[in-house]
């Protein structure tokens, strides 16, 4: 579904992503873990077309999207929920969901998917007319995930969905990620919470200062000593 080949990304002189390659198979959950500043968000931004890489290729669904503009990539079903949520906090919950469906024209389908989102996140339904900026952090995370689902993603990129949430809520969010995956959406998940991420993922990549230093199945990495030490507090 997604192949990233030898990606190099710079911010001016800063070499943030160094020769990263990774692969996400159809229907998988793949996780990208690593500490602060490792280059996880930069990788996702580059896949989404928000930043252009210096070198490397991004192949999605058999198409080279390295030079494709961000909005076209969304139209193709590759959708990102960015770090820090980025809800349109001056608009209502409903308006946020409408913007999620921006690329679509099938009115009936949109309404149906909105109902599905409300089924997944009943809290959003209760607050549908509330201004997004007044939602709690957890509710905002639900909102931006729901908003992304409104665009009917085939591949969903999630950047630290558990950031700043209470443990119970983290669990709920991860259950929902699993559920979204079970319903047919492939997922590339960036997380600092390596424990949780490895528990639901099929494959994992570990990033350190812009490089992939380890990769394998989630079970292998969860058992590996290096990962235990660095990310699982073991």
């Amino acid at each position: 579904m997604l192949q990233v080949k030898n990606l190099d990304v710079f911010y001016g002189a800063i070499h943030a992503v160094k020769d990263i390659s990774l692969e996400v198979g159809d229907g998988e959950i793949v996780t990208l873990i690593g500490s602060n500043g490792a280059g996880k968000s930069t990788t996702l931004h580059t896949i989404s077309g928000l930043i252009k890489p210096k070198n490397g290729k991004i192949i999605y669904d058999g198409t080279d999207i390295t030079e494709t503009s961000a909005h076209k990539i969304v139209e193709m079903g590759l959708v990102q929920v960015p770090e820090g949520r980025h809800a349109f906090s001056n608009m209502s919950v409903l308006e946020n969901l409408d913007l999620g469906a921006y690329t679509r024209k099938d009115k009936d389908g949109i309404e149906k998917d909105k109902e599905d989102v409300f089924k997944k996140f009943p809290r959003l339904y209760e607050r549908r007319n509330q201004i997004a900026g007044t939602l709690s952090g957890g509710e905002q995370q639900m909102l931006v995930m729901g908003r992304a689902l409104m665009s009917k993603p085939k591949l969903l990129l999630l950047d630290e969905p558990s950031m700043g949430l209470a443990p119970l809520l983290v669990k709920e969010i991860f259950n929902i990620i699993k559920e979204i995956n079970d319903q047919g959406t492939t997922i590339l998940l960036v997380e600092q919470n390596a424990n949780m991420a490895l528990s639901i993922a099929d494959k994992a990549y570990v990033l350190e200062t812009g490089r992939v230093v380890l990769n394998g199945t989630a079970a292998e990495l969860a058992a590996s000593e290096a990962v235990q030490k660095a990310y699982l507090g073991g």
Binding site: S48, G49, L50, S69, A70, H71, V74, E75, V79, Q80, P82, H86, A87, F88, S89, N90, M91, E95, D98, L99, G100, Y102, T103, R147, S151
Partner: protein, 298 residues
């Protein structure tokens, strides 16, 4: 001056102020929309207003068009000019430091002014009277049909804009881009297209103001945009730059203050009053009357 004539004079200046102010509002809307979406004070905006007036002039004189077709032609023409200017001058500067873009905008302003002088000469032109002036008197007040035309046209245009921004998909996308451009891109919004649309709408409103002023004052010239442009910019700041209702309100306030100053003191103080308002606002409520007081993140 007895009390009765004072009230009368006051009401008269309100009428004059509202018609002048609605012109400022129309221009201020463009400033504020463009600022909202790319954080640029488009100093060429006053010249788009001038361009609109000239298109209206050519439409009514050369092509004998009546008011409405001439207005629409001016709006479309200026809208296209706005799109082209953004495309050529501002888009390549999208990631440049703000001061560089600001200087570019001043350059565009001079370019438009002196190109028009080259084409049309600096001589003022007489804008044809598309409506024969009729003056209505009631209760000692004087209103002419041009003032009514200005006020009604401006209100209709503002209502139309408000509808587009709040109730259409494109308007929703505009609000999204102006709030968080990267998040908007992740929704699949083509922000280049939305920025073009914003320039088109803002420029069209300025052009409408240009045509209305041409009709009102009968005279247009290539540098006519400088002062109204500056005052509309002040109006946008007074209302809170980036806030549409703020621009509408700021424009009306500017018009009313100018009318009052001209009516009760002397029109020589008119421009000074406009700048005094700017200074007062910047001192006491820099975010504008409708703006929230937030410090800009550095």
């Amino acid at each position: 001056m007895n009390m009765g004539s004072f009230t009368q004079q006051f009401l008269q200046q309100i009428i004059n102020g509202l018609s002048l102010g609605s012109i400022y509002s129309l221009i201020a809307l463009g400033y504020t929309m463009i600022y909202g979406i790319i954080k640029l004070i488009n100093f060429a905006h006053g010249d788009i207003y001038m361009l609109g007036a000239f298109i209206g002039f050519v439409a009514t004189t050369k092509f004998q068009m009546s008011f409405l077709p001439a207005l629409i032609l001016a709006m479309v023409g200026a809208g296209l000019a706005g799109i082209i200017i953004e495309r050529i001058a501002y888009r390549p500067m999208r990631n440049a430091p703000r001061i560089a873009v600001l200087i570019t905008a001043i350059g565009v302003s001079f370019f438009l002014e002196y190109t028009m002088i080259l084409i049309a000469t600096p001589q003022p032109r007489t804008f044809p009277a598309v409506f024969s002036p009729t003056v209505y008197h009631f209760a000692g007040l004087v209103v002419n049909n041009q003032q009514i035309l200005i006020l009604v046209s401006a209100l209709l245009l503002m209502a139309g804009l408000t509808y587009i921004v709040n109730h259409t998909k494109a308007g929703q996308a505009m609000r999204a881009v102006s709030f968080d451009p990267d998040a908007a891109r992740l929704m699949g919004i083509n922000i280049d297209r939305i920025i073009s649309m914003t320039f088109a709408l803002g420029s069209a409103l300025a052009a409408a103001a240009g045509v209305l002023v041409g009709i009102y004052y009968n005279s247009i010239d290539p540098l006519m945009g400088t002062m109204p442009g500056l005052k509309a910019f002040i109006a946008a700041v007074v209302g809170g730059i980036g806030i549409l209702p703020g621009a509408m309100m700021g424009g009306l306030i500017m018009g009313l203050v100018e009318a009052m100053v001209s009516g009760f003191f002397s029109s020589t103080f008119r421009d000074a009053a406009a700048f005094a308002i700017l200074i007062i606002i910047l001192l006491y409520k820099p975010s504008g009357l409708l703006g929230k007081n937030v410090k800009e993140k550095v």
